[in-house]
């Protein structure tokens, strides 16, 4: 069964450093998402991406965040200058083998980011 994969599984970084979290969505999906889950809290939407541009973003997704689909398979989340409060589990998701946007989102296993 196709699945969303994410690398790395864990990332430790120093405050102020840039990190790039990588995701390989399900191959025929058209919509891509990033969510985060701070320890002990709910999963929060960050951004959705369709047709090579951001379609929705939350208040959390400020100027220090960016997303990119550099090639036909990868989908990345970049945090330019990490802060302590960016420590969280980051989930990638994908959906929509068609243009019907209300498809089910399939989640990857997550990348646990720790900012020291």
């Amino acid at each position: 069964e196709p699945e969303v994969t994410q690398t790395p599984s864990h990332q430790v970084t120093q405050m102020g450093q840039e990190v790039i979290l990588r995701c390989v969505p399900i191959s025929n999906h058209l919509y891509f998402y990033w969510y985060r889950q701070i320890l002990g809290q709910k999963v929060e939407f960050l951004v959705s991406f369709y047709n090579n541009e951001i379609s929705e973003k939350s208040e959390i997704f400020d100027d220090q965040f960016s997303v990119e689909r550099p090639d036909g398979s990868n989908f990345t989340l970049k945090i330019r200058s990490t802060k302590l409060e960016d420590s969280a589990m980051y989930f990638c998701a994908s959906s929509g083998p068609s243009d019907e946007y209300q498809e089910t989102q399939y989640f990857g296993p997550g990348t646990r980011l720790l900012v020291l």
Binding site: F45, E103, Q105, Y106, F107
Partner: protein
């Protein structure tokens, strides 16, 4: 504003007992509804979803959920819980666009 509520932070049940996890949502429009399960150290696995039609939906691992429009609820049930069901369960809702709104989760402990 849109919100999703899971009133039970933690539930403990005995193996073999029945289970019901509650989920309520706010906002007037009928959303699309999902239940996900997260085992320790794992990602979110889809259990079941409701888009339209029959309000009782069946999912994987013997789970089912019932959409009740009048109560704005989408409660998850299982008639007989197994020890392997111990996990965190998240209700998620989509209204418009494709942004998921998650509840805070319910942690399930299963006693042998």
């Amino acid at each position: 504003a849109q919100s999703v509520t899971q009133p039970d932070i933690h539930i403990t049940v005995s193996e073999g007992a029945s289970l019901e996890l509650r989920c309520n949502y706010s906002y007037g429009a009928t959303p699309y509804l999902f239940w996900y399960v997260q085992s320790p150290g794992q990602g979110l696995q889809l259990l079941l979803k409701y888009f339209s039609g029959d309000t009782l939906v069946q999912g994987i691992k013997g789970f089912e959920a019932e959409f009740k429009r009048s109560q704005s609820s989408f409660n998850l049930r299982k008639p007989s819980v197994h020890w392997s069901d111990a996990a965190e369960y998240f209700c998620a809702v989509v209204w418009t666009g494709n942004q998921f709104y998650f509840g805070t989760g319910t942690s399930l402990t299963v006693i042998p």
